[in-house]
């Protein structure tokens, strides 16, 4: 039904939250993604938030977010009839996405090695916490455990607090993006060799790159990057912030400023000029401050961070504090979108700390038609979804249909595509297989 670039592909997505975004990416790119749910529905249908806060399996916004453009069938893999149906479906599929723990599908006789006998072209993707093999392969994972073990959580938060988990199951997004890339790479290989293969994604490995430079700092310098919170702590233990770099409170929230880093936007003098125009630069327009700003460069900062020169710190930190207080007062007098638009107009690197509502109302996203209105007739509602993360101008991705209801496509798939009879379907439904 779709015109997307992957419209020739059929994908079976087995239950599990970590791979749902992978299925969504493929489905929005046009693949026919069939979500195989246990009778009663996928476990993620029970996760909040719910539409109008009504905790109903057909109203989970969590489920909606990850399951656009898919079809849904129900199937009980615990039963022999169910497993036989999955084998038949696997024969007709290009891709299977499996998020069960290692060995689970094998224990049902449905592992990759069995299914590839039926379908040598099958690309079978496994997404697990730690991969299919290795000493921790059997460890239980979750988003929190994955971000902890990957090294990325260690870098987030304030030194006085526990390390911070990033918002919103980032391990699922990251593992799914890696899985999707793996599946497409394997499909490109299959188009040439005729053979499918196993794509293995470990959530821990999928996230590891998010350590930024922490691994290299350790490898090259034996220096351990740790969470900094806001500003910097000097080797002496003293806290300071380079004026113009960091998260500042404003009239209606916060903004992030990154002003004065060479090569990134206009220098701090442009900010001071703006403040002066508004009569808020206080004494910073005096000539001695111009001199201070001109000496504020990376070499000075590196000197301060390394703490080699304590006299430099004694000289500079009181000046930083003075400037920072004046910038704070200026920023606090303005609203975040005003600081963003006017600051950027002046070439200053300013970003609003956007709330979800700010993102929904963002002018750039709206003028580019980013959001997509999706009709949910059963809810009597039209819900605004984020559009695809990329624009393929020849073959655009889009949300082709709202997320499926539980088993919504049972008849379509089992009767029309698999060729079961009405009687067989009724028997399976009666036995609780579907």
């Amino acid at each position: 039904m779709s015109e997307g670039p992957l419209s020739d592909l059929r994908v079976l997505e087995l239950p599990g939250a970590a791979g749902a975004y992978c299925g969504k990416l493929l489905a929005d790119l046009g693949a026919d993604v069939i979500k195989v749910e246990p009778p009663g529905g996928d476990p993620s249908r029970r996760l909040p938030p719910f539409f109008h806060d009504d905790p109903h399996p057909e109203k989970s916004l969590y489920f909606f977010a990850f399951n656009t453009s898919k079809r849904s069938i129900t199937l009980d893999l615990q039963r022999a009839d169910g497993r036989a149906l999955l084998r038949r479906l696997a024969q007709r599929a290009d891709v299977i996405i499996d998020c069960f723990p290692p060995g689970y599908m094998e224990s049902l006789g449905l592992g990759y090695q069995s299914l590839r006998q039926l379908n040598p072209g099958l690309v079978y993707c496994s997404i697990t916490g730690f991969g299919l093999w290795g000493p921790h392969a059997h460890y239980k994972s979750s988003d929190l455990i994955a971000v902890a073990m990957s090294g990325m959580m260690y870098l987030a938060g304030f030194p006085e607090d526990p390390p911070n988990r990033p918002y919103g199951d980032q391990s699922h997004y990251c593992a799914s993006v890696q899985a999707c890339a793996g599946i497409l790479t394997a499909l490109i290989g299959r188009d040439r060799s005729g053979r499918g293969q196993l794509v293995e994604v470990s959530m821990q490995e999928a996230l590891a790159m998010n350590q930024e430079t922490a691994m290299q700092y350790w490898d090259l310098r034996r220096e351990l990057r740790q969470r900094q919170g806001e500003g910097r702590r000097l080797p002496s233990g003293e806290w300071f912030r380079v004026p113009g770099i960091g998260t500042y409170e404003c009239a209606d929230g916060h903004v992030y400023l990154m002003i004065g880093v060479p090569g990134f936007g206009a220098p701090i003098s442009v900010l001071i000029q703006w403040m002066a125009e508004e009569g808020m630069a206080e004494d910073l327009t005096a000539p001695e401050w111009q001199d201070v700003f001109s000496r504020l460069d990376l070499r000075l900062l590196a000197q301060l961070y390394q703490g080699a020169d304590t006299s430099a710190a004694q000289e500079w930190i009181p000046r930083f504090r003075h400037v920072d207080r004046i910038i704070e007062r200026f920023v606090r007098s303005k609203r975040k979108q005003e600081l963003y638009e006017e600051g950027q107009r002046r070439g200053l690197l300013v970003a609003p700390v956007n709330s979800p509502r700010d993102v929904l109302e963002n002018r750039q996203l709206n003028e580019r038609g980013f959001f997509q209105e999706v009709e949910h007739p059963e809810l009597g509602a039209v819900i605004r979804y984020p559009g695809p993360p990329y624009r393929l101008h020849g073959t655009p991705a889009r949300i082709w249909r709202r997320p499926p209801r539980i088993g919504e496509h049972n008849r379509e798939v089992y009767l029309e595509e698999l060729g079961l009879t009405e009687a067989e379907l009724a028997a399976l439904a009666g036995a609780g297989v579907i």
């Binding site: 909040p48 526990p162 790479t185 490109i188 490995e205 790159m209």
Partner: protein, 408 residues
């Protein structure tokens, strides 16, 4: 398996991207067999080449940055002066011999060089052109400046992450630069490449880093769009799991993450801990634990803080409870026995930096295992190869270009 069997063998990428999100995406193509040619310049080098960390025992150098090297493993480096007309002509010739061209400059830069999509189509009709601007190629904020540090607050991640009593300072990194944006660019490019292989048609791909990043807060966006609710920072807690957090352990800045979702897991947790408080009625149900979460967290920490993080992880995992050390980079690189057994990090010999570590691929393929096929290139290391073997220039022509400062 030889590199001839890798799925992307024979694909050539003219890679004009720089910093993080672009080069990481093209590196994944190199991992699986593509020939990725970084077009760089001594005159305006990739900023990451000038950025720490560099080896401690060496003076800083343009080939020594671990930041750059880790994102460019197995690529070729072609130094080209884009400020010269001849440089821009060679760039177009290289694109004509490539399957994919990638760039992530501020919108207008490629146009300024005459490298519009329309011009490129004239020399390579089935090109896949991948552009990764911050805000997109159109729109009122098209020319706004930014990079990963700015995208994290802009896309809502900072607002939603961290403890509620703290200001929204983000994730301590330019988070979306490393997996989210390069990963989305990779997915789009592979989908387009497969489509081209099947139909002969290339296309223009636009990955606005802002739009890509907004997708990873989709649940909060739907909650706001459908319910009008603005979600707030919740620290490490979840409404449907308890305990769920990081707990201090023995040692300096050592923590263990524990996630209990079901009653069975709670009971297993209590059996491992064995302390009297685990039997208190008020903690018996999820609702009860959520109602007394602050106190429960304190009690748990009184138990974990007497133990090493690894010990807590192993005890709980043996009982079927999800737990993991909040690992530092020293843990992931040197100590984690699992990553070590799986060989996630690759140690490669680099001509100037020596034997250094590189991240492995984010996914593994059973029959065509890819990965870093060599260290990062020195700036301009493969200029002669590209001139001769790809562009078909003669020695005399190359000598002239060198003399005229085009190949620097």
């Amino acid at each position: 398996m030889t590199s001839d069997d890798l799925p992307l063998k024979g694909i050539r990428v003219a890679d004009f991207s720089w910093f993080g999100a672009g080069p990481i995406f093209t590196m994944a193509l190199a991992h699986y067999g593509a020939e990725v040619i970084r077009v760089e310049s001594q005159i305006r080098p990739d900023g990451l080449r000038l950025t720490q960390p560099m080896p401690k025992d060496k003076p800083p150098g343009i080939n020594l940055s671990g930041y750059y090297n880790n994102f460019n493993a197995g690529k070729l480096s072609f130094s080209l002066n884009m400020a010269s007309q001849q440089g821009r002509e060679l760039a177009l010739r290289l694109i004509a011999k490539s399957d994919i061209v990638a760039e992530n400059f501020t919108p207008g830069t490629f146009e300024k060089w005459g490298l519009t999509y329309e011009r490129i189509l004239q020399v390579k009709p089935d090109i896949i052109m991948v552009r990764e601007p911050m805000q997109g190629l159109t729109g009122p904020h098209r020319d706004f400046a930014g990079f990963g540090a700015v995208i994290t607050p802009l896309a809502g991640l900072s607002y939603l992450s961290g403890f509620p009593h703290r200001p929204p300072v983000g994730l301590g990194t330019n988070y979306t630069d490393y997996v989210v944006n390069p990963g989305h660019a990779l997915v789009a490019t592979l989908a387009a490449l497969r489509y081209r292989n099947r139909t002969g048609k290339g296309q223009l791909i636009e990955v606005a880093q802002f739009e890509s990043s907004v997708n990873v807060i989709s649940v909060a966006l739907l909650d706001c769009a459908a319910n009008g609710r603005v979600q707030e920072r919740q620290g490490n807690r979840l409404p449907y799991a308890c305990p769920h957090g990081a707990y201090r352990c023995l040692g300096d800045d050592r923590w263990v993450a524990i996630a209990v979702f079901t009653d069975d897991e709670w009971e297993a947790f209590c059996r491992v801990v064995g302390e009297e408080w685990t039997r208190e009625e008020r903690f018996a149900t999820l609702l009860g634990r959520k109602a007394h979460e602050d106190e429960l967290d304190r009690l748990i920490e009184s138990w974990t803080s007497q133990r090493e993080a690894e010990e807590v992880m192993e005890l709980l995992q043996a009982a079927g409870v999800a737990a993991g050390v909040v690992q530092s980079a020293a843990d992931t690189l040197d100590r984690d026995p699992h990553l070590k057994a799986r060989g996630y990090y690759h140690y490669l010999e680099h001509p100037e930096a020596g034997r250094t570590a590189y991240d492995g691929p984010g996914f593994r393929l059973s029959d065509t295992p890819g990965g870093p096929r060599g260290p990062a290139p020195l700036l301009g290391q493969h200029t002669e190869y590209v001139c001769k073997e790809v562009l078909g220039l003669s020695d005399d022509e190359i000598a002239d270009l060198v003399a005229e400062g085009v190949l620097q």
